[in-house]
Symmetry: D3
Amino acid sequence: MSPTLSDQLQNLGLASMRPSGRQPDQLREIRITRNFTKHAEGSVLVEFGETKVICTASVARGVPRFLRGSGSGWVTAEYGMLPRSTNTRNDREAARGKQTGRTIEIQRLIGRSLRAALDLKKLGENTITIDCDVIQADGGTRTASITGACVALMDAIAFLKKDKHGALKGNPFKYMLGAISVGMYKGEAVLDLDYAEDSSAETDMNVIMTDQGGFIEVQGTAEGAPYTQDELNKMLALADKGIKEIIQLQKVALAS
Amino acid sequence: MSPTLSDQLQNLGLASMRPSGRQPDQLREIRITRNFTKHAEGSVLVEFGETKVICTASVARGVPRFLRGSGSGWVTAEYGMLPRSTNTRNDREAARGKQTGRTIEIQRLIGRSLRAALDLKKLGENTITIDCDVIQADGGTRTASITGACVALMDAIAFLKKDKHGALKGNPFKYMLGAISVGMYKGEAVLDLDYAEDSSAETDMNVIMTDQGGFIEVQGTAEGAPYTQDELNKMLALADKGIKEIIQLQKVALAS
Amino acid sequence: MSPTLSDQLQNLGLASMRPSGRQPDQLREIRITRNFTKHAEGSVLVEFGETKVICTASVARGVPRFLRGSGSGWVTAEYGMLPRSTNTRNDREAARGKQTGRTIEIQRLIGRSLRAALDLKKLGENTITIDCDVIQADGGTRTASITGACVALMDAIAFLKKDKHGALKGNPFKYMLGAISVGMYKGEAVLDLDYAEDSSAETDMNVIMTDQGGFIEVQGTAEGAPYTQDELNKMLALADKGIKEIIQLQKVALAS
Amino acid sequence: MSPTLSDQLQNLGLASMRPSGRQPDQLREIRITRNFTKHAEGSVLVEFGETKVICTASVARGVPRFLRGSGSGWVTAEYGMLPRSTNTRNDREAARGKQTGRTIEIQRLIGRSLRAALDLKKLGENTITIDCDVIQADGGTRTASITGACVALMDAIAFLKKDKHGALKGNPFKYMLGAISVGMYKGEAVLDLDYAEDSSAETDMNVIMTDQGGFIEVQGTAEGAPYTQDELNKMLALADKGIKEIIQLQKVALAS
Amino acid sequence: MSPTLSDQLQNLGLASMRPSGRQPDQLREIRITRNFTKHAEGSVLVEFGETKVICTASVARGVPRFLRGSGSGWVTAEYGMLPRSTNTRNDREAARGKQTGRTIEIQRLIGRSLRAALDLKKLGENTITIDCDVIQADGGTRTASITGACVALMDAIAFLKKDKHGALKGNPFKYMLGAISVGMYKGEAVLDLDYAEDSSAETDMNVIMTDQGGFIEVQGTAEGAPYTQDELNKMLALADKGIKEIIQLQKVALAS
Amino acid sequence: MSPTLSDQLQNLGLASMRPSGRQPDQLREIRITRNFTKHAEGSVLVEFGETKVICTASVARGVPRFLRGSGSGWVTAEYGMLPRSTNTRNDREAARGKQTGRTIEIQRLIGRSLRAALDLKKLGENTITIDCDVIQADGGTRTASITGACVALMDAIAFLKKDKHGALKGNPFKYMLGAISVGMYKGEAVLDLDYAEDSSAETDMNVIMTDQGGFIEVQGTAEGAPYTQDELNKMLALADKGIKEIIQLQKVALAS
C-alpha cells in the first residue's frame, strides 16, 4: 500500500497512528440497509467501511430431527465469501467441494451467538437460516455479519409474528446483539480493525455483547506477543463502547 | 402470485399477455454498473429487471498446465447463486460439497462463450477467471451473467493493457458478446423471460451473439410442446433485436 | 492421423472433403441391437460407426420425493464413458469421486429430452433410469445415446404394459425421438460428425427432434468462427434429413 | 428363479445338483475375445458363461512419484460394474462420488495379482492401467477380470515391445495367471460358481495361480459354516484343474 | 534397523533366523486387557508384542434398513490407525476425506468374520459396531484387531444379556474366533509376523479360525514368489497352533 | 446420572456443589506420561481425570509451499476422537468423509496456540505435526490436548536439537503453554470442568496462557445467560491459578 495522507501526517506527529486516520476508539462508518433483496424474510446489507456483507434470514417450517416434537425452534448460520471479495481471488468453496476451516469456524460462531440471544422455545417449530455472504472484505467480516444478521433475524421474526400459522409463542428475542473486533495494534488498543490493521495486529479479539451489556462471546487471540490482563481490559472497554454505538445504529435501522 | 395489474388489463383485452405488462419484444430495464466492488480487475453489477448478478474478472499470471509454454492465455468462469437469491432458499453448494448440475452447465456455457469471443493467443500467458454470483434471481441469470461478464472482462483486459508486465499481444477481443433468453410463452414468441414466464414457457431458448450479428451459442429446449422451424425463426429474430439493444447498453457503460 | 484414401482422393479433387469419405449429408452406418444385456427391462447397443454405447432402461416402483402422491412417473438419465473408450485413457469418474462437467451436461440433456417425449402422468408412479455407457467413442456419443435410449425406454414401457401391477395409464409416449450432430466443417455443413471432424469443426450442433418433425432441443456452439443464420438453417436441414433416417432405423429395430 | 430342467432332473436323482446342470468340476463356457475395442493397447472381452467383462490395458509413459527414477514400471487396476450389469440396478459409483468397499477390494486384488506376475524392473518406467468393466454379471466377475486382464496385459506388453521408445528391458512376464472361484455348495466342492450358486454357497473361495502351478492368491471365506482342512483341499484341487484349463484357453486366444 | 542381538547370534549359526529371535512357531507376547475405556459396552486393549489396538463394541437399538422388521441383528466393524501409529506419519483419513483401500479391506474382513461367528437371529434387532483403532503398529494389526474384537463383542453381548430390554434370544455366539498371520520368511514358514518380517516376507497369510478348528477366512498373498501347496499346508498348521493358543488367552481374559 | 455421594452431601449443605466433589478452584488429577508410543519424536498421554488424549509430535523435513525458501518452520495440529471415546458412539469422521465443524475448530485452536509459543524462524525448514487423539472423553479435551501437545512438541524439538541435520537455529520455544477450561456453573466460577459440569454450565471458557502469565487465547461463550465483566474476571483468575499448576506438572514430567 502506498502511504496514505494519515501515514504522512502521523509521521509528522500530527495524526492518528491508524492507517485510516481514525481515533483508537472510533468505528468505521457503519450502514445497515434493510430489505436489500426481495425474496428473504429478512434481508440486510451491512457495511463496516469497505466491508460489505449481505445477511439474509430465511424462515422454514419444521426443525432438525433432534428437535422434532420438542416445540422448540432452531437458528443456524452459514457464511461465505464471494471469491473476489478479497484482494486476491480465493478458490470458490463450492467448486473445491469443501468449506475452509475459517468459514466453518465463523459460521459456527454466528449461529451459536444468535441462538444465545433467543428463547428458542418461543420460536415454535420453525427453523431460521441466516446466510452471511461477504461481497467485499476489508477486515471484521464476522462481526459485521453478526451485527447485520441480528437485524435480519428480527425482521424474519416480525414476519413470523404476522403469520397466523407461524406458531410463535411470544417474542423469542431475549437480547439484541452487537459485535465488534478490537485489538492491540502498534502497542495500542484500537476499535474495529480494518484489513490493514488486522493483518499486522499483535492481538485480535472479537466481542459479542447484548444490548444489556452482557458478554455472549469473547475470543481473543495473540497473533504476536501474548497479551496482559490490563490489555484485555482496555480492549473490552473499547468493545463495550463500540457495541453500544452499533446497537444504537441497529435500533435506528429497525425504526425506519 | 396474486394477479398483477397487467393480468387484469389483459383479461379485459386491454394489455400485454406478459405478466410484467411488457410487449413481446421488450427487454426488462437493464442496468450495468462498473467498478461495483473494489478488489477485482473488472467488477460489474448487471441487472435485468429484478435479476441481479455480480460479475467479476480476476487476472492472474500463468495458465493451466495444458497451456504452459504455449504463449496462449485462458479464460474460465464460475457461477453461483446466494442461497436466498431465489424465492425459496436453496442449499449452499459449498456446504453440500458439490455444485449442482445446473450450476456446472451454466458456468461451462459462460466460459465457452467468452473464450469464443477472444483470441487467446493475444492474451499472453494470463488467466482471467470470471465469477458470476447471483444475488437476486428473477429469470435469465445465465444471459445476464454473460452480458455482465463481457463488460468485466473488457475492464480486466484494459487493466492488463496498462500493465507493462501484462504480456498482452494486441487486443484479444474479436467480438463483444450479448446474451438474452427468448421463448414461446402462451403461444407467442417473447423476449427476455422473467421468472413468471420462464417457469411456464413452452420453449426456453438462450442465444448469445456477437456485435457483428454472428451466433456464438443457441440453446433451445422444448419444455412443453416441441417447437417448429417457424417458431425457432421468430425467437431468433427477437433475440437478434434484443442483443443489439444490449450491446448498445454495454457500449454506453464502457464509455462512461 | 495418417492420410486416408479419402484425403488423398480429395486432394486430387476426386472425392469428399470428409475424412471418412462420406457425403456431407451421409450418416455413418447405424446399428441398433436390442436385448443386448439380459438383466435390464430395456437394453440396447447403439452404434454410430465406431461410436458404441450401451443404453439400458431400468424400471423401479416409486418416484423421487417431489413427485410422491402425484400419480406421475419420472425418467432420469446417467451417462458414463469407460476410461479407455477414448483415444487416451481418461480418469475413472468413480475413482476421482466426481463426474466431469461434460458428463453432467450430457446426462441432463438426455434426461430432459426423454421426459419431453413422454406424458409422465401416464407412466404412473414408476421411475425409469436410463444408463448410457460409452464403450467406444468416435464422436457423437450424446446423440447416439439419445437415439439408443429412446428404443430402450420403449422396451421398458412395453415391459411395464405387460405387468399388471405396472400402473401404466395408457401409452406414455407422445413422440419418438431421434438425435444427431451436425456442424460446419471446412466451411461446409455436414451431418453426423465423427471424432476427426468434431475435433476441428467450426460449429458443433446437436439436434433432437420428434418423429413428427418438431424440435426438442437445439444446441449449437461456435467452436471457431460465429455462425450465420444461413449456416444455422443449412445445419438444421441436414439434421432433419438425418433424424428422419434414424427414426426409420429405430422403427425397424423395434419391429424385429 | 423358476425350476430349470436340471433342477427337475436332479430331483429325480438323474442329474447334477448344480442349478446350471454342470458337473461339480465343470467350468462354464469361457470365451476370450481380443481387440474388442479399438483404442486400447490391450482390449479383451472375457465371458465366463453369462458373466461378461471388458478388460483393457492402457500404456502410459512415466510412473507414480514413489517409483520415479527407479527404472521400474508399475501396473495398477480399476474395476467397475455398469449400473445395470446386475439383476437390480446399483447406484452409479461416479454419481455417488465413491467406490464401494467391494469395488475397492476387487481392484486391489486384481492389481496386486498382476504385479506379482511381472518383473516390474523389466517394464521400464511405464505404467499400465488395467480397467475391468463388467457389462453383465452372473457370478465370478473378479476371477473373470483377472483372467481377461492377464491377456490384455500381454497384448499391451507386446505393443510396448514393438515400440522402440518403449524402454522394455526383456520380457517382464514371469508367469501367466489364471483365476477361478470354487466353493462349497450344498455340501459339495464345486468349480466356477455362477450367481445362483454364489449367493447361497457355504464357502466362497477365489484362487489365482500361475501357469507353473504356484499360488498367487487364495481367499476363502466361510459364508455359512466354517470349512475344514479337507474341504479346503478339495476346493484347491478343483481350482488347480480349472485354472489349468483357463490358461490353456488364454494361450489359444493369444495364438490366434 | 541396526542389527539386533538375534541377528548377530544367527549369523554365528547360534540362533533363530527371525529378527525378534523368536522360534518359527512362537507367538509374540499377547496381552488382552478388558474394560480399557469406560464408555463402551465392550472395550479391549489387545497387544501382540508392540502392536496395540483398542477394540470397542458399541451397542445400539435398531438395525440397518435392509434388516428392519426381520428380527435379526447386525454387526459391523470400522478400522483406523492413529496417524503416527506407524514408523512414519500417515495422513489422517478424516482430514483426507477418504479411507484408504487398505482400511476398507481390513474393516470388511473384520466385520464379515465376526458376523460369521454369530447367529444374528438370536441378537434381536440390535446393531453392534466394532471399532478397531490401532494406537501402535508393528505388523499383524488386522489379526490382533479380530482377536480383540471377539472379546469386546462377547462383553457387549453379556451386557445385552443383562438388559431386560435387550431382546436377545439366547446366546448369539456360535464360535469364538482367533486370528493370526503366518508367512513364508527367508524360505521358512513362521507364525505371527512382526513388521520387520512382514515387510520382507515372500508370502503373507491371514487366517481366522473358530475355537472348534474350522476356517472362517484364509487370505494368502504371494508378495514375492508364488507359494506351493506344501508351503500352504505348513503355514496353515502354524496358524492352527497359534490360534489355539490365542483362544486360550481370550478365555483366560474373559474369566478374569 | 444417579446422584453421587457429593450430590447427596451437597444437598445436606456439607459439601461441594460440583458433581465430582471438587472445590471450585480444584483441578482434576492430571497425569502426563511421556514416550507413550514408540514411533513418534514426541509422544505424550495426557489425562485430566477421566479425559485421556494421546498427543504425538511428528517431525518432517520441509515446509508447506507458502514457506519454502523462507528459512522458517511450521507447526500444525490435527484432532480426532475415537468413535466410542464418548458416552454414545459418534460417527467415524474418516468413514463420513468429513471432519465435523467442532473438530476443525479445535485443531485450528491447537495449531494456532502452539505456533504462537514458538519462534518459527528458529525451527528451520522443518514441519512438526501434532496429533491429538482422544481415547476417552470427559470434558476439557481441547485444553488437555494443548497441555499434552506442548510437552510432545518440546520432546520433538529436543529430538531435532540432537540431529545434526535438523537445521535448528537455537531454541524455538519462546514460552511454555498451559491450557484449562473455566466456567460459570450453578452461579459459581469453577476450574477445569468435567463433562457433567460442561454440559450444563452457563458459561464455558477456554484459556491458554504462557509460563510467564500472558494470554495466548481466551474463548468464552455464554451457553445460558450472558456473563458479566466481574464473572469474566473471576474465571480468568481461576484459569491463571490452574495454568500455573499445570505448567508445574509439565515441568516435572519433562524433568523425569
